[in-house]
Amino acid sequence: MKTFCENSIRMPSGATLDHFLKAVSNETTLNREFIEICTPNSHALKGANIGDIDNKLCFGCLNCIDVEEINYLTVQGSPSQFKTNISLQNTCNKLFQGKYTRFGPAADKLANHSMQKETEISNPLGTLIIWNLSRDPTRTFFCSSPSGELSINTSNHLDSREGHLDITICSPQDKIVCVLEGKASVAAMLRDISRDQWDRYKSQLEKESKENNYTLIFSYLVGGNEIGLYPENSDAPHSTRRLELYKYIEEKNLRFISIEALRSLRAYQLSISKEWNWETWFPKLFADNRFIGLLAGGIVTKENDVYSLRKAPWCK
């Protein structure tokens, strides 16, 4: 079972994406920082063993699970000391099929937990899931909330304050960097429209990644319940914020990934395809002009001005 991650990198104050990409080219000189896998502050993990997990507090992010432990999960995705008959594979067969779905019988636990605090819960949670989804986690590095965000100098005469990148995770050997702007929920995303982070950040990030020969993945990462992120013509239950959200997505040409989708990918990786990694699939998805968002039920695309939910390309 994993309890710590040593791949969080502490960069000096004011360091930008450019500084980070240059720093990771020499792994031996990186300032690594221990972070607890069960976020925040080993929320449900009181010791170093599976027996120390408080199942009531565990929300089944699957970050602490190793591949050999997948037969030791409760129905809620929590690790157990005892071998269980729960088949993660059966659950995962329903994921990413182009139909609305939710992971497991306790999907609300993750949604409720992740929507509480952006910097202290949803951002580090998302970072650690992506880190786990790496081709080689030992050589994948990140800077993220709650205290390691990179800076982005988008200050101007009207606003002297620099911006911060919530999550930056990169694979130096694949030359891919993923920058995610975290939002605790759909409501939080809509609340921050006036900050115009997408337009302010995108061109600067593209410039800095291009100068370092990196492929950039830039997206929103949305915590909480993902129902509001499903397109109108999908089979997802009604959401009052959907029209408003898609109007915003249309206006800014945004991309998004939900925390639930990331957790689903982790389950998919653990039970169905151990080879699944973000370095292979994220560039393929984001290079496709039709791609808009990634959800547990599939991918959202825009074709002929219509937003639809489709089966993910990795599903047979």
């Binding site: 309890t3 710590f4 502490r10 960069m11 000096p12 104050s13 004011g14 300032n31 920082e33 221990f34 972070i35 607890e36 925040p40 502050n41 080993s42 009181k46 010791g47 170093a48 910097t119 202290e120 709650p146 205290s147 200050s155 101007n156 005469h157 002297s160």
Partner: protein
């Protein structure tokens, strides 16, 4: 540098005690601010003796090589280790800011003197005899609570706050209600700065707070100090708890452990306590002194660059004209002191007129009177030298001590004495 703390966490005095106990050597010893930081080089670090420290589970302690963590940091494994001073090494992104704030806080509480360079940058701190006197008191003891409370109540900005809370008709206040009285106002006088290459840039002096954020942060920090002194009580504070530095710090720790790491924003005013302090007479033995009359030049706005050498023109203006701003404030404070001693009022128009005799006391001749009337009298009030204005006449509402000028150059003090010898400045009080 203005020695007003401007980070909310520096209002938690449990942390002050932890840093002080772990780093004090002997009265008169000087140390560099960076020596306050946590480091494996020291046998004892603030986190080892801090009253708010929390024990780490064994498996985490083994990984980190330390046994305790600070509950106010966002994660237990945070390499900054202590919210006040942070830890030494390249991993500390905040560099000297946290120790700078710590030094200011320790100075407010009489534990150290600040030794600064001519540009205002803090060079060293020197432990005081007072610090040695309280070293063996225990955290939570009534003697220590009394010592800390006395220091808070005589601290200039808190004196100003007491004065304003006393006047307030409301029983509840929010942080935002106090921004007006806790802002160091800029005088905004037009000046020309000359860069190293001789390029002249016309700017306005910006000798006030560096940003709106600074006011927000210092307001919360000052209210935190006021809570330790039982002047205000945060909404939600248990009714059966009394308010002392010890109790308030404990309460903050309990909240942090409950994952409530934000600081209070709404407070109830302890009217009876304030009434008693005012009726006993306000004590200004811990006012802001000359060297701290204007904040350090730290403007970072990229738009404020010299077009030829890219130096920050606002910072340059502050360096070039800062002393004049400080001298003018000292002139006003000394006038208030004299008016208090002679039981007179100050004619502001006459004071402005007299101050124009020496260019060390004005920046713009045209705006000198308006600057003193509309800006500087509020700034000196924030520093503790509270006053009231009626028509053109300014009356001190506090006993101003002579320690405010302690670090001013002797020629400035001498010149002030000469200027204030003009009897027309002081007029008899009407009551």
């Amino acid at each position: 540098m203005a020695n007003i703390i401007n980070r909310a966490e520096y209002g938690n005095l449990g942390c002050l005690w932890g840093v002080f106990k772990s780093r004090f050597t002997s009265s008169g010893d000087e140390i560099k601010p960076m020596d306050l930081k946590c480091s494996p080089e020291y046998g004892i670090n603030p986190i080892d003796v801090c009253p708010g420290r929390q024990e780490l589970p064994e498996h985490i302690a083994k990984h980190l090589g330390r046994t305790h963590y600070c509950p106010f940091l966002k994660t237990r494994t945070d390499e900054r280790i202590c919210q006040w001073v942070h830890a030494i090494g390249d991993n500390d992104s905040q560099k000297s800011k946290p120790v700078g704030q710590t030094c200011i806080a320790m100075n407010i509480f009489g534990l150290c003197d600040l030794i600064t360079q001519s540009n205002g940058i803090l060079k060293k701190i020197k432990w005081t005899a007072e610090a040695e006197d309280i070293l063996n008191l225990s955290w939570g003891s009534s003697e220590l609570n009394e010592y800390l409370t006395k220091k808070i109540l005589s601290y200039g900005p808190v004196v100003n706050l007491i004065h304003n809370l006393h006047k307030s008709t409301s029983m509840l206040i929010r942080n935002t209600d106090l921004y007006q009285v806790l802002s160091i106002l800029p005088t905004n006088e037009p000046v020309e700065t000359i860069c190293q290459n001789g390029t002249i840039t016309r700017v306005q002096t910006w000798d006030g707070n560096t940003s709106n954020d600074a006011v927000t942060r210092s307001t919360t920090a000052l209210l935190m100090l006021c809570a330790s002194a039982n002047l205000v009580k945060p909404v939600g504070y248990p009714t059966d708890y009394d308010l002392t530095p010890f109790r308030y710090s404990n309460w903050l720790t309990e909240r942090a452990l409950d994952n409530k790491k934000h600081f209070p924003r709404k407070w109830s005013i302890n009217k009876s306590q304030i009434e008693q302090i005012v009726s006993n007479g306000l004590d200004l033995s811990n006012g802001i002194t000359y060297e701290h009359f204007i904040p350090k030049a730290t403007d970072r706005n990229l738009g404020n660059r010299c077009r030829c050498c890219k130096e920050n023109v606002i910072n340059n203006a502050r360096i070039q004209f800062g002393n004049k701003s400080k001298n003018r404030k000292l002139l006003l404070i000394e006038a208030l002191r004299k008016a208090n001693e002679t039981n007179t009022m100050i004619s502001l128009s006459k004071l402005a007129e007299v101050s124009l005799q020496d260019e060390q006391f004005y920046i713009s001749k045209d705006s000198q009177y308006e600057t003193i009337l509309n800006i500087e009298r509020f700034n000196v009030a924030l520093y503790g030298y509270i006053n009231t204005l009626e028509n053109d006449y300014l009356t001190p509402t506090i006993n101003v001590l002579s320690n405010n000028a302690i670090c001013a150059p002797s020629f400035v003090k001498l010149r002030i004495e000469e200027l204030l010898n003009n009897d027309e400045i002081f007029v008899e009080r009407l009551y």
